[in-house]
Structures are given as structure tokens and as C-alpha cells.
């Protein structure tokens, strides 16, 4: 029976690692998405340039390659990251780059009349963004953002390639040691499903809060 509890611990331990990577990388992704997404709505080429290159780089290469780079190649130029830090930075930058487009699109989708009304009320550019454009864009961002957080969760097994003992890796280890393929695979199936359900639930709650007033009628109101 002690062996069973050992295996249960491995699964729990792996789950905890997966949760940690998902949560921290999601925070990184949100920061990346917001910074690059907002910057890319600028009318100034030089402000758009850096973020655009960053986003295209991370969307144009695979997450797998990026993890290898962050963990095995960066030390050659003097940057050594722990596996955890490399994992959250790469997953965050990768998913954040997709999120960047979500942010940019949502901001661009706020009707022009909203900006004009806030100009007419003499809001500064920052006030327009903070009080008028962003709260409305956020509502449009949340559903695709929820999908991206779930995508991020599903990318976490890749981090075992740079020595993270996440849920998938540990479950495979349990499978090898016990030989019970079905139970190990069923465990990860249920595990990821529960975690992604939790994300969907949380996003749903935030969505309901953020969309007060916006549920009915056209957005232009």
C-alpha cells in the first residue's frame, strides 16, 4: 500500500508542477499580450516594430524549439535559466504572442465613437484607454483568452523535455514502474480535463463581471 501512496504522491507532485507552470506562465502571457498588443495599436512605426518582431518570432517558431533554445542554447551566451524559469518564460512568451493579436484586435474593435466621445469629454489619451477603451476591449478579449490559457495548459507537457517533472512526465514514470498503462493514462486524462475546466470556469466568472451593461444590445449603445 505504501507503494500506491508513493505513486499517488508522484501524480500529485506532477500536478502541482503543472499547475505552477500554468499559473506563472499565464501571468507572463498576460503581460506579454497586453504590452505587445497595446504597443501594436500605436500609430508610430518605431513603437510597433519591436513588439511585432517579438510576436512574429514566437508565433513563427515552435514552442518545442523555443524551450530547447531557452534551456540549452542560452547558456552559451551566458544566460542560464532554471528549468522552471525557462519553462514559464517560453510558454508565457509563446502563448502571450498569440494573445497579443487578441488584445490588438479587441482594442481595434471598440467602436470609434467611443474614443470620439471621450475626446469630446476631454479625456487624456491614457484616460481614454483606461476608462473607455480597455474595459470594453476586455470583454471581447476574455473568451479567446480562456482558450489560450487552456492551450497553455496543454503545452506544459513539453517542459519535461527540459527536465520538468510535470503531470504527464510523472504519470509516464508511474506507468513504467507499475505497468498499469490504463490507470496512468486515465489519470492524466482526468487531470488535464479538471484543470482546463477550472480555467474555463474562472474565465466565465470574470467574463460575467466584466460584461455588465454589455450583454444586451449593440456594443455601440
Amino acid at each position: 500500500m505504501s507503494q500506491f501512496s508513493d505513486y499517488a504522491w508522484m501524480i500529485l507532485d506532477g500536478t502541482w508542477v503543472t499547475v505552477k507552470i500554468t499559473v506563472v506562465a499565464s501571468v507572463v502571457a498576460v503581460i506579454v499580450a497586453l504590452l505587445t498588443g497595446v504597443a501594436r495599436t500605436s500609430k508610430f512605426f518605431w513603437i510597433r516594430l519591436g513588439p511585432t518582431l517579438f510576436v512574429e518570432l514566437f508565433r513563427g517558431t515552435s514552442c518545442y524549439v523555443q524551450l530547447f533554445w531557452a534551456f540549452f542554447a542560452l547558456p552559451f551566451i551566458g544566460i542560464s535559466l532554471t528549468p522552471f524559469v525557462a519553462s514559464v518564460l517560453v510558454l508565457g512568451a509563446n502563448v502571450g504572442s498569440y494573445g497579443s493579436e487578441v488584445v490588438r484586435g479587441a482594442i481595434a474593435g471598440v467602436p470609434r465613437g467611443q474614443t470620439e466621445a471621450s475626446v469630446a469629454l476631454n479625456f487624456t489619451k491614457l484616460q481614454r484607454f483606461r476608462h473607455v477603451v480597455f474595459p470594453q476591449a476586455l470583454v471581447a478579449m476574455l473568451p479567446p483568452a480562456g482558450n489560450l490559457f487552456i492551450d497553455l495548459l496543454k503545452l506544459t507537457p513539453l517542459t519535461s523535455l527540459i527536465t520538468m517533472s510535470d503531470l504527464t512526465y510523472n504519470a509516464m514514470a508511474v506507468r513504467q514502474q507499475t505497468g498499469s498503462t490504463f490507470i496512468a493514462l486515465a489519470t492524466i486524462l482526468v487531470g488535464y480535463f479538471l484543470m482546463s475546466s477550472a480555467i474555463a470556469w474562472a474565465i466565465g466568472r470574470i467574463e460575467r463581471r466584466a460584461s455588465r451593461g454589455l450583454e444586451t444590445g449593440p456594443r455601440a449603445a
Binding site: V119, A120, H131, G213
Partner: protein, 264 residues
């Protein structure tokens, strides 16, 4: 020059979209407190006049003066330099605008739409802003709707909230861009009633772009008839509507009447 008494002045203002001239060296003066109605066919440039004043459109030639100060320019040496955002920000406090499509903030309640801007922009305390918002909502007949969201209101109610929101900033000059054009016919009068109150109160300079000819005739001190980006004719309402001097004005009014609108 008695610039100080002028709320608004355009001197030879041209507005171009590429090769298309929307305003052609347009000049006009509006003394403080005057109520002006701009009428004319669509594409005549009347809305553009308001949008330039609200700094929503730039100009390509001429100067615009608001309360004796250049709007799109700043004094520099002996001449004028293009205005900075800081200058535009300082000038905008004189002006408020009501839009054809209301442009209420859908994520804010009616009360917040009216109370938040003075807090954000003018630094008014929340107690004072809330109180003033309630007073203004009462003025436009919507004291009971403070907790509603814009999406729950009729078009006429939305426009009255938009008027209250603009008034909350206490601008000396109010611009109304076809405020009843997007409304169902039965909702027009409730908005006109509010506009009438503001006009009668007297202090505020009003520039009104409208197709409601009898209303324009009733509340305005002067009518400007625009066509093709220029003022074709201007004068007191009775003269413009009863005895227009220009052929183009006559034709326009004929069309309006033919379309079933009253001008008396």
C-alpha cells in the same frame, strides 16, 4: 477685433480629404451665447464644422479661434505653430459635443456616464459629481434611470443621457451633431424639449446641425445654410425660411418641404 466676445471664429478654413475639399475657405463668427443652426444637404460640410471644433478632424488651411485663442494652432513668435496635444486638451474644456449616435459608454450605468467624466477629467469629488449627475438627469427627465445601463434605454433616453453627460462638463460651447436623426420619429420631441430648455437658459453658445427645420427656426438666433463646403447664405431664421435670397437655399428648402417636413 472684438475677439473676446466671439465664442467661435473660423477664418478661411479648408478641410481636405485627399483631393476632395469638404470645407472651402470657410469663415464664420459666433458671438458668445448665440444659438446657431447649420442646415444644408448631406455632404455640405456642416458636421465637419462641428468635428473640427471638437478636435476630431484636423484642418488643412486657415485658423479656428475659440474664445479668442487659436484651436488648431499655438502662438509661436509672430506666427502660429501646429497645436500640441497639451494645447488641444486645454482648449477642449470650453467645448462639449452631442453625437448623432449618442456614443454613451455601454459599460457604465447612466449615472456613471454622467458622473464619471467630471471626476476623471476635472477632478471633481465623487460626492459633488454624483449630486450634479442626479440634478442633470432630473433636468433631462431621467432621474429614475441612473442605475440602468445604456443598452436598456430607448434612443431618445440615450440621447438625453448623452446631453446630460456633455452638460456635466460645463462647456461654454455646445455642439449638437444631428441629435435627433438616429431616433424613431415618436422619440424626437422628448430630445428637442431638452434642447429647447438649454437654448432658453441662454448662457451656452450652441451650434446645432439638424434636419429639424421648424426646431431650428424656433430656437436659433441665426441660420447658416451650407452647400459644397461653403456658407451659401446666412441670416435670421425667419428670413432664411420665408425669404431666402439664394437660389440654392430656395431649392434646398423646397426639397425639404417636398419630403414632407415642415419649416414653419
Amino acid at each position: 477685433m472684438s475677439d473676446r466676445q466671439l465664442a467661435v471664429e473660423f477664418r478661411g478654413v479648408s478641410k481636405l480629404y485627399g483631393a476632395l475639399a469638404v470645407l472651402k475657405e470657410l469663415s464664420l463668427s459666433v458671438p458668445q451665447g448665440e444659438k446657431i443652426a447649420l442646415i444644408g444637404p448631406s455632404g455640405s460640410g456642416k458636421t465637419t464644422v462641428l468635428r473640427i471644433l471638437m478636435t476630431l478632424e484636423t484642418i488643412q488651411a486657415g485658423t479656428v479661434w475659440v474664445k479668442g485663442e487659436p484651436l488648431w494652432h499655438m502662438p509661436k513668435g509672430d506666427g502660429l505653430a501646429p497645436a500640441t496635444e497639451t494645447h488641444l486638451h486645454a482648449m477642449r474644456r470650453h467645448i462639449g459635443m452631442v453625437f448623432q449616435h449618442f456614443n454613451l459608454f455601454p459599460h457604465m450605468t447612466v449615472q456613471e456616464n454622467v458622473a464619471r467624466p467630471p471626476q476623471i477629467v476635472l477632478g471633481v469629488t465623487s460626492g459633488e459629481a454624483e449630486q450634479r449627475a442626479q440634478d442633470l438627469l432630473r433636468l433631462v427627465g431621467l432621474a429614475q434611470k441612473g442605475a440602468s445601463y445604456p443598452a436598456q434605454l430607448s434612443g431618445g433616453q440615450k440621447q438625453r443621457v448623452a446631453i446630460a453627460r456633455a452638460l456635466a462638463m460645463q462647456p461654454a460651447i455646445m455642439l449638437f451633431d444631428e441629435p435627433t436623426s438616429a431616433l424613431d420619429p415618436e422619440l424626437v420631441e422628448e430630445v428637442l424639449a431638452v434642447l429647447r430648455d438649454i437654448a432658453l437658459e441662454g448662457k451656452t453658445t450652441m451650434l446645432l446641425v439638424t434636419h429639424e427645420m421648424s426646431f431650428a427656426r424656433e430656437i436659433s438666433d441665426r441660420i447658416l445654410f451650407l452647400d459644397g463646403g461653403a456658407i451659401v447664405e446666412e441670416g435670421p431664421p425667419d428670413q432664411i425660411f420665408s425669404d431666402p435670397k439664394e437660389e440654392r437655399t430656395r431649392l434646398f428648402l423646397k426639397k425639404i418641404i417636398a419630403a414632407g417636413h415642415r419649416i414653419d
